[in-house]
Amino acid sequence: MSDPTDPPLADLEEMLRLAEAMAFASPAPLTARALGNALPEGNDADAVLAALAARYAGRGVELVQVAGGWQFRTAPDLAARLRRVVQVPRRLPRVAMETLAIIAYHQPVTRPEIEEIRGAALSQQTLDQLLEGGLVQPRGRKETPGRPTMWGTTPAFLAQFGLNDLGDLPRRQDLFVEPPSQPSHASPPPSPAGEQTLPEPEG
């Protein structure tokens, strides 16, 4: 109910002002009932809201009817214009980064081989992270007992790291002053410098 001590709302213009302020300041859509309670008795809240909506039609801000009431919204054409996409790139966890690097240099490579090179177990979660990122893909199965899946990198991997092809990766011998001893059963590392051709990524 309107408080009797408030100055009377003289006319439609005053009622429009109140409806405008209420719709603007309310955290939730303004219902006709809530507005009606604030208006002097005998006034049609629906009519006031409709008049207000008409006044804002075509403006940069519009009064629209949403679930449960009326709310000011940025005009759709301008909202689209004002929308800004903020890029927040994800970081790959260290384990995933190491695994990816090993796959890049040793592809096609099986999971046990990756574990051998890293000297640590490879969790399914890590592999899933790389798969979700579209960075690695299965590259057939190795014809050894258990026929383990072999893994390789994807074109998305090349794009992510700004490489034209795998040959752009620095050669292993340029990375290591003293090359680490090779695990006996891992497949021979491809030399990205090109003495040995790398299998084409399938993606």
Partner: protein, 272 residues
């Protein structure tokens, strides 16, 4: 613009009234300022001596009624007592000059506090957002966060490779890989879960878990799956069959009409 400052209390507050609401003061300086305002003159011209006497009277009164007074009230009282004794000395002496200076500083501090009070009242008289005027109630966030991109560059990849290769190389003394042991319990659960979904007489190997990469692990898993199979066959839930010696062991659904007909060819089943 809203009304600016509330005007200060028009009447000086009598000392005994102050006494009753000492707790309402924010410390000795606050009380001193209140007393000074009671002098009804500009703060620049207050009588420090009169002020000191008023303060000491209030404190004395408070101590008569209840002894609980915070230390800073008493520290101020002691200092003001010292100040009073010096202010009563004939002017010209060094002690009197010192007291004059101290009195000026006290007056300055009171003016500073008065200023703070006036500023707070001015601020309080402003139209405040959230109190008197309201901003938009429902926020509309037009920014979108795109986390699809990856923060990874080539140097990071190379660092990771070096770190992994070094660690792998340094740890490459003989160290048996930790075995993933596929327990009979797990095998039982998996068999029970899969037996309905695979065609009858599927090879036992198809009931092995995935991701059993090393041959050792596979063999261990095969043993536990066979043990689980024997256990389930005993209960009639499945049937086992091996057509030739050392050939694949085949798994079929149990015959519910003959639950006690256990193994079809029990003699053929042996671990390999």
């Amino acid at each position: 613009m809203a009304a600016v400052a509330e005007s200060p209390p028009p009447e000086p507050v009598p000392a005994d009234a102050l006494l009753l609401r000492l707790d309402g003061f924010e410390g000795p300086l606050d009380l001193l300022l209140e007393l000074a305002r009671g002098q009804k003159v500009d703060l620049a011209r207050i009588s420090i001596l009169a002020l000191v006497e008023q303060y000491l009277a209030v404190i004395e009164g408070a101590r008569r009624i209840r002894l609980e007074l915070a230390a800073d009230w008493l520290v101020m009282a002691a200092w003001l007592t010292w100040l009073k004794s010096r202010l009563l000395l004939p002017s010209g002496s060094e002690a009197a000059d010192e007291a004059e200076t101290a009195a000026e500083i006290l007056a300055a501090r009171l003016r500073d506090l008065q200023l703070v009070r006036a500023a707070a009242i001015w601020l309080g008289g402003r139209l405040q957002l959230g109190q008197d005027v309201f901003a938009r109630g429902a926020a509309e966030d037009l920014t979108e966060t795109d986390r699809s991109r990856l923060a990874a560059d080539l140097p990071g990849l190379l660092r990771a490779y070096l770190a992994a290769a070094r660690r792998g190389a340094s740890g490459r003394r003989y160290r048996p890989a930790a075995l993933t042991v596929w327990t009979v319990q797990s095998a039982l659960a998996r068999l029970a879960q899969l037996v309905g979904s695979l065609p009858d007489w599927a090879s036992l190997e198809r009931f092995l878990p995935e991701h059993m990469a090393s041959p050792m692990e596979r063999r261990a898993a095969l043993s536990s799956t066979l043990l689980a199979g024997l256990e389930m066959a005993r209960g009639g839930a499945i049937r086992l069959r091996q057509e030739i010696a050392f050939g694949p062991i085949l798994v079929g659904r149990g015959r519910h009409d003959a639950p006690h007909d256990t193994l079809d060819e029990p003699d053929d089943v042996r671990p390999h």
